[in-house]
Symmetry: C2
């Protein structure tokens, strides 16, 4: 019998009425002949409230205890959802992460899943029950509760879908799916019918908030078909799946902007092996995420080095860079705190040419100055002035016809 995994986020189970609505979604799939595994998050703002309760008692709560505390939110949702399904005449059983042996490493607050007892779940499914699993949580080998960190429930759902070999993993959220770009900035953005894992990974890492990057990575690794859809309507949503030939026919699938970026540059860095490594190790230690590193040689023994960080990390990053400047006797340090990134993403770039030219042309036409450029196999990013980035997005979207469904575009 085919299995489907359905994941409901916190806003989709925020109150009794929404829990009943989620239950009806489950029943629809069951009546369509599927065995259903459900993953649910904590209700509405419950997790935030628990965090507030914790911080009131301890400004730096031990992570083990924080995980023990926060995991209760999901446990409440799954038992309530099971009750709702029973009230509607369907057999259901709820499980915590520990109960299905969602085994993780022992890294509290951002644990990695190691294995899942799928036989246990299958036995319950084969007895005609809907199996409802608390998302976001697991258990380490010693029985301690762990949580998976940001995007954890999505990751639970995709990992479960892989473990039980589900036909599809439906992620219910409060938007219709994945758009060509952020509809709040470019109002003519269109919904994507499908997108490849690699494109979604790039989009997620560039700030498209629909899916967390970890869950997409798990989906890619195990080949889980993910469908992102709206919990409050019947739209089919967006399918995230393997790259298929027709995707390559599309030049660009989506565009993103990251507004609050900053850039740090070191001028005249001596060409001594390990200079850059030392700096990035220290930044990692300070938990600063670094993007778009550019290094260029300016003389046989000196180079310029620049990189981007989130604006909120700028002061920490600047301190580290200043230490390096002194230690290695660099010529100069500069900082730009008014930078934003605009990126286009598409697996089509692998086999087609002209994407960069089209993008630079569009930006030039709109008189947007490009500070720096970085590319990956399926992405081109340009750093621009923060105040110009929304205008830049509109120009780029129109150039790549991201206001039209892929099959209606002329530029393929």
């Amino acid at each position: 019998m085919a299995i489907i995994v359905q994941k409901f986020g916190g806003t989709s189970v925020a109150d009794a009425e929404k829990i009943r609505r989620a239950a009806r979604r489950v029943i629809e799939r069951k009546q369509a002949g599927y065995q259903v595994v459900v993953v649910a998050s904590a209700r509405g703002r419950q997790t935030d409230e628990l965090v507030r309760d914790a911080l009131e008692l301890n400004p730096t709560p031990p992570k083990r205890e924080m995980d023990q505390l926060l995991s209760t939110g999901e446990q409440q949702t799954v038992s309530l959802l099971a009750m709702a399904l029973e009230a509607m005449g369907h057999k259901a059983i709820s499980f915590t992460g520990a109960q299905i042996r969602m085994l993780t490493d022992g890294v509290y607050s951002k644990a990695q899943i190691k294995s899942i007892d799928s036989e246990f779940i299958r036995r319950e499914l084969d007895q005609g029950r809907v199996v409802i699993v608390a998302g976001f949580q697991g258990v380490d080998e010693r029985g301690n509760v762990t949580t998976l960190g940001r995007g954890g429930s999505d990751t639970s759902a995709v990992a479960l879908a892989a473990a039980v070999n589900a036909d599809e993993c439906e992620i219910f959220t409060d938007v219709d799916g994945v758009y060509t770009t952020d509809p709040r900035v470019f109002k003519n953005a269109v919904l994507l019918e499908e997108i490849s894992y690699d494109e979604m990974l790039e989009m997620a890492s560039l700030g498209a908030g629909v899916m967390h990057i970890r869950s997409v990575a798990v989906g890619k690794r195990y080949g889980v078909t993910i469908r992102v859809r709206n919990s409050s309507n019947d739209n089919p949503g967006t399918i995230i799946t393997h790259e298929v030939p027709q995707m390559e026919g599309v030049l660009v699938s989506g565009a993103t902007i990251q507004k609050d970026m900053a850039k740090i540059g070191l001028v005249g860095v001596p060409n001594i092996p390990g200079t850059a490594a030392k700096m990035f190790a220290r930044l990692a230690q300070a938990k600063v995420v670094v993007d778009d590193i550019i290094q260029t040689e300016i003389s046989p023994d000196k180079a310029n080095l620049s990189f981007m960080v989130k604006a909120s990390d700028l002061s920490t990053a600047k301190e580290v860079a200043e230490q390096i400047k002194t230690e290695f006797n660099c010529d100069n340090l500069f900082v730009r705190d008014d930078i934003a990134l605009i990126s286009v993403i598409g697996v089509g770039m692998r086999s087609q040419y002209g994407v960069a030219e089209k993008m630079f042309g569009a930006l030039a036409y709109a008189k947007v100055n490009i500070d720096s450029i970085t590319t990956s196999e399926i992405r081109i990013s340009c750093a621009v002035n923060r105040e110009e980035v929304e205008r830049a997005l509109e120009t780029v979207c129109l150039a790549f016809e991201l206001d039209k469904p892929a099959r209606q575009r002329s530029v393929t």
Copy 2:
């Protein structure tokens, strides 16, 4: 190293300030050289709120899911209490019932404890940690969460005290301890310094609400010294322990009243074996608790049979009695719905005489009519008119000098 178990009820951990106060109680004991195991209930009205959330979705929620849901309340308290202790500089670790293998049978909502992994707890204690265990909950052999029902956290605490062989089990509550009688009715009631398990069991079954009967029974079975005390002051409270010789010197330790009782009588019941058995079996099936059964022969082949039930169970009990009257062709059925019970309790009754006479004398002096009398080895109960029972309690308390500490009484 000596171990002490401390139990904090819902009102003692209702908010951050109260959790900190509980933490300070723990630290006092730790600094006095004890290893401390803490058992905590859900915060304030959390359990009630979860029950309300459940009933909104399902008027008859599956008991397994209800236990899964309700156990989260205690889990939240224990992790928060651990955080509070850490913030105050003391190592602490929280556990759910499942994590310490508080193994129970599979009877959801009123599970019985079968075993506890005390080695696990001792290891944590030996590492200098305060061990904080979620009360009220356990786990069955298949990993399902179970709850222990009413008074469950007290039972968890006393069972843990037995398992780790603790010196004492402190039960923190919102009163100073166990009184000779209900101070809301008899304002000169005095606090008992100590009381035997048997007396406490009788008092608890007669409606003295301080301790639940199950936890006292566990304490008696394993010889756990229980101390009931107020979480908001430093009074020593009441010790519940084995009967000691000086207890027998005290005629009566306490008095209780149960106001909302009703009495059912069957007149002229044929003396056929099994008549009474059949009726009480049916009452048990209907979950009616029966008290004070009196049977008296009125002729060689007929008897009268009466018993007491809670007023709220009267209509159910009456139906059962009417069936029996018809089936066995009894002469008559009568019901009194204006009855109350007054009881005195004391292990001293075992070895001393005159308790009944003194009680009847006091009631006669106060012109309180006695409807019926039942006794056990350490208890005498009289059924009286409900509207006279508070006056009866006052008279009886004065007769037995329950307004004075035991050692100051003349009637011993």
